[in-house]
Amino acid sequence: MPITKENSNIHPSGDKRFQMLSATMKRHQYAPDALIEVLHQAQELFSYLEDDLLLYIAHSLKLPPSSVYGVATFYNFFSLKPKGVHTCVVCMGTACYVKGSTNLLTSLEQQYQLQAGKTTFDNQLSLLTARCLGACGIAPAVVVDGSIEGHQTAESVIHRVEESLHHGS
């Protein structure tokens, strides 16, 4: 198919998400300084940033792949590996720490035989930590599948994660 103005945004794979990503880049006029915004959008669409995706972005923004890779690996927010179906983020900020977030993390690690930052073999659960969620008023806090839960104990957090794993929410 000849590349014309109309279909230049269509990725050879036919994946529509690329079209949406292209639209974001276009809105930023393909400016290299929009890289972080574009990576945010890419991660939202694809859930993680694989090498091909980074190359695609580098090509579109006319940036060397090394600098795109450099930026993607610099920031904690960007993940270059796929995450599990469910995620549990334990806040390790000072207020949560003082109120025992280490216990929450240890009990989760033991329960699911999982280290922080890793995903279970069946790809069901990723256990993550956060610097500070800014939810210090309700410490210790965790985020299970995007919803924040305060005043947690080792029992309540496992109960909450179990609920998520078995009921999908």
Binding site: H40, T94, C136
Partner: protein
């Protein structure tokens, strides 16, 4: 948009004033505690009882007492209900209107904010609208005297007199270092350039601090107005808000705020029929603590790795894309509209000799009342922890307060009578920082705390300069050795030396301040260290 239109919007909004108001917090801690469901239930109950003409329910920002959420406040009585559930909604509605039929009695816990020390000790300037207005309605902000400061500067003041007013007020940067805001503005205003930028630093990376998040979620227009006034004063036409990716609701409220301000012509070209043009864009951070440092933050806005560069040149001379740039923190900008409206003289009458105004603290950790407070500078830690925070739960004893996050230090309970201002905290080996105040009780070992912060700095070091990249690792290992009981007295000496070296030779604030928690705990809690030393 002109003043008449502004007044008209405010007037329409004030027509609601004779109704009984039920305000429900729908941000921050209350949101996580199901505040939104409570609000919806309240709305539904009022609708079903057909009370719309005498009772108005609104979702508002943070009321401060985050640990007791969801909070519901009734006005004009001022009664506050804590830990409200959806089932309580009919009872609350019944309590305000005899027309609502309900045989149930009132929900149990309620108290008057004007009698509770958590509220009475506060003086709210930055948080004056938090918990009162709906953060997603620009009309409510305008009704609370919003955008009057902007009108005043655009129509009645020249840029020089705005800078002068801010200088006179004695306002100092609320982001940590406490640099005089007026002086910073004057430097940017003087710089010669066709393009200048304003940046609002909302990359609140300090763990344990959530003031900026709460301000943005509860009263976003106040920050926008502050930025607009600053832009007029220094001659900038483009602003950026660099906000943490961890704060989706704050981003959402800012986006809504910017959209509304544009629609009313408060952002864009020819604002208030003057020649002033201004535009604000949001940049979402991606989780790097070092981006709170201004040069790193600017690199990040430019789409690069957030790595600091040496200063000078300071951003005021050469900042974003080499142009003069004014960077202030969220809370600093949030002070501006009120200073302009009420005058520098009024503002400088609050606080201590060298620290004017108020400071918002996020009180967290081992205290009964955790949440957000705003107190005049010079309030003592005892008042904050003992009276407002209502001490440590279960009869425990406070050991220390940690301020300033990983760049700050721990202040022992014995020194709680210290009035809080920039200088006094510095003297004690801590810093004001952005305003996190985390209370630790006797069960906390300070070596552990120091190690916790060092691990944080070690992970967050960007790796550009060696003292920070390697020094924090060595410091962490030394602290681990002490904690494991393998260290001897000589190691403490080594620790001190290394702290000194990292402090003196690091490139940016992250490294320079990284040893602070160690130094301050060594100073005030030497026994914790000595007790862990090996006896051999």
């Amino acid at each position: 948009m002109d003043l008449k239109e502004l007044e008209a919007i405010a007037f329409r909004e004030h027509q609601q004033d004779d109704k009984i108001r039920i305000r429900c917090c729908i941000v921050g801690g209350c949101l996580s505690a199901n505040g939104l469901a409570v609000k919806e239930q309240l709305v539904k109950t009022v609708q079903e009882a057909d009370l719309g003409d005498e009772v108005a329910v609104s979702g508002v920002g943070c009321m401060g007492l985050c640990s007791k959420g969801p909070l519901v406040r009734l006005d004009p009585s001022g009664t506050l209900y804590d830990r409200v559930s959806s089932e309580d909604a009919p009872k609350i509605v019944a309590s305000v209107s005899p027309r609502a039929s309900s045989s149930q009695s009132l929900p149990p816990s309620q108290y008057q904010p004007d009698a509770h020390p958590f509220f009475t000790k506060q003086l709210r300037i930055v948080l004056e609208n938090s918990g009162k207005i709906d953060p997603e309605k620009i009309a409510e902000y305008i009704a609370a005297d919003g955008y009057r400061g902007l009108y005043k500067v655009l129509r009645e003041m020249n840029p020089e007199s705005v800078v002068e007013e801010i200088s006179q007020s004695g306002l100092r940067g609320r982001g940590g270092a406490g640099y005089p805001t007026g002086l910073k503005w004057a430097t940017v205003a003087k710089a010669q350039s066709d393009r200048k930028f304003i940046i609002c630093n909302a990359d609140e990376g300090d763990p344990g601090a959530f003031m900026d998040r709460s301000i943005l979620e509860s009263d976003p227009h106040r920050v926008l107005e502050g930025m607009m006034i600053a832009a007029y004063a220094v001659g900038a036409s483009q602003g950026y808000i660099y906000v943490r990716g961890e704060y989706p609701l704050a981003i959402n409220h800012l986006q809504t705020g910017i959209r509304q301000a544009k629609r009313l012509g408060l952002l864009g070209t020819g604002i208030f029929e003057s020649s002033f043009d201004f535009k604000i864009d949001i940049r979402v951070g991606a989780g790097a603590f070092v981006c709170g440092e201004e040069t790193a933050l600017m690199a990040s806005i430019e789409g690069k790795r957030g790595i600091p560069r040496p200063r000078p040149p300071y951003p005021a001379e050469s900042g974003l894309w080499g142009c003069p740039t004014l960077i202030n923190n969220v809370e600093t900008f949030a002070n501006i509209p009120t200073i302009i409206r009420r005058g520098a003289k009024w503002f400088s009458s609050i606080g201590t000799e060298n620290s004017k105004g108020t400071k918002v603290f996020s009180l967290a950790g081992r205290v009964c009342n955790t949440g957000l407070i705003e107190v005049p500078m010079g309030t003592t830690l005892q008042q904050i922890v003992g009276e407002m925070g209502d001490n440590v739960p279960d009869g425990g004893k406070a050991k220390a307060v940690q301020t300033g996050g990983p760049s700050g230090g721990c202040i022992p309970a014995a020194l709680f009578d210290t009035p809080v201002d920039y200088e006094s905290l510095k003297e004690l080996g801590s810093i004001m920082g952005s305003g996190g105040a985390i209370v630790m009780d006797e069960s906390t070992n300070m070596v552990e705390v120091a190690q916790f912060f060092m691990e944080f700095c070690m992970d967050e070091s960007c790796g550009k300069c060696i003292p920070c990249r390697a020094g924090t690792v060595q410091l962490y290992q030394l602290l681990t050795k002490i904690r494991e009981g393998k260290a001897v007295l000589k190691d403490l000496e080594k620790l001190k030396q290394l702290c000194n070296m990292v402090q003196e030779t690091s490139l940016c604030g992250l490294g320079q301040a990284a040893p602070n928690p160690v130094i301050s705990t060594l100073r005030h809690f030497q026994d914790d260290y000595m007790g862990l030393l090996s006896q051999e």
